[in-house]
Symmetry: C2
Subunit: 262 residues, 2 copies
């Protein structure tokens, strides 16, 4: 297909390169930042544009991989006739694209993208949606080239998938960061946490997370918890998180025990 990319961030870059590998061609790359537009356009052999009104009609597919808060602003400036256009956002309804075209859809890959880190698309679930059945089939064929897991999911459910991903990914990473900061303050190395981090991630491949739960909060061991809270006295936000998360873990353990007894 002849594709135009709206956006030149981490997701746009990796998606563009992966689709190029599968033989698709790129017409234009849009980004308000000339540097980003030009860098990605160069990689994809496409034309770089920095103003929405310079995005030309005529491509087979327009992929909008913009930050959510930039999306509607940029879209209002784009005129592409009634071409097929998709966005890649988890929490944005499909019909935000209706300002540009009546033939719209969504390609939402469930993954975290960082600069300079290549992601293997094959194992990433893609959630797709389209206003027209024929377009859904076009999108499905395209995405099946990249991934083994392609699911048709509506905008309502996609929101929950994105929310679940924020907990399992963004929030988890932030807890890693706190863990690293606690160790750094004691001149201890975060590297020692890696086997533990890996095992916790591996465990939930075969056990329900609630069943895999361990630690002082499960048995609400107030002695340990009190001592640990005392270590956090210079970090009131972390202490607050510690209390909330521990209460949640204990409640989960209690609920589970109660349901087992019924």
């Amino acid at each position: 297909m002849n594709i135009t990319l709206i956006g030149a961030g981490n997701l746009a870059t990796q998606l563009g390169l992966a689709l190029q590998e599968k033989g698709h061609r790129f017409v234009q790359v849009f980004s308000r930042t000339a540097e980003s537009a030009e860098a990605l356009a160069f990689l994809l052999g496409a034309e770089a544009v920095t103003r929405p009104e310079l995005v030309r009609p005529g491509a087979d597919l327009y992929i909008c991989a913009l930050k959510d808060d930039a999306l509607s602003d940029v879209l209002s400036g784009i005129q592409v006739g009634n071409a097929l256009m998709v966005h890649t956002a988890g929490s944005v309804p499909m019909d935000v694209l209706s300002v540009c075209t009546s033939d719209y859809g969504v390609i939402y890959p469930l993954q975290t993208f960082s600069k300079g880190r290549k992601v293997e698309f094959r194992s990433i679930p893609f959630y797709i949606e389209a206003a027209r059945l024929e377009s859904l089939q076009v999108i499905q064929a395209l995405v099946a080239d990249l991934s083994d897991t392609v699911r048709v999911v509506d905008s309502e459910h996609r929101k929950y998938i994105h929310l679940a991903a924020v907990f399992a990914s963004n929030f988890v990473n932030y807890l890693y960061a706190i863990s690293g900061d606690i160790l750094q303050e004691q001149q201890l190395s975060f590297d020692d946490m890696l086997p533990l981090i890996d095992e916790v991630a591996r465990k939930v491949h075969t056990m329900m997370p609630s069943k895999a739960q361990t630690g002082p909060a499960v048995r609400y061991d107030q002695q340990v918890m009190g001592k640990q809270l005392a270590l956090l006295q210079n970090h009131p936000e972390w202490a607050q998180l510690y209390e909330l998360l521990s209460k949640g873990i204990h409640k989960q353990a209690t609920d589970k025990a109660a349901s087992t007894n019924n």
Copy 2:
């Protein structure tokens, strides 16, 4: 060595089996629960005892792998002369063992142990400590049989390692559980989260967690965050966590940007 195990939980079981594989022999296994004591004693070819005063002196090493809140209660009933005794807890000072013996120490493996799940000790960091230098050497040699990473760390630092582990492991697992619950309420599968979970864990092998951070909270995208909070209206505790974690992520991103500009 001739070893007596105080405790018959997941850690005691896995540590016992791993040490047995390395040729060590087990004399007794103590647990207040006869079933647990007998099951592990059978596996280790040892005698099962359920009362602290039945723990006999004469073993080369006593390993106390009890829950923190049971520790001091059980210890006060044990008389083993001045034999070498270690405990395995992160947040308990070494000298809690001084009620039993003057020759004490700690073997703290940084890992999460679940029933029926075999853990590979080789890659697990062990933190050790001992009151006597000769005993530290005995412990070091024993643990080096099991693991490639043996570090001498005092009780004060070990507390922080345990705290960091609670954030990177127990709390992380609880976020997985919330993620799974969000999906389950929508009849969606948690399995789709696994490639994302794996990538987030893999990333911090080569990137600082704060650098690997992605998601709506980094840029404090209030539109997305507001929408996601609205989805959590029936779960006020999760909503509270969402807000706290998002604020923390945003603060971390802002602090990082400020320190880069200086």
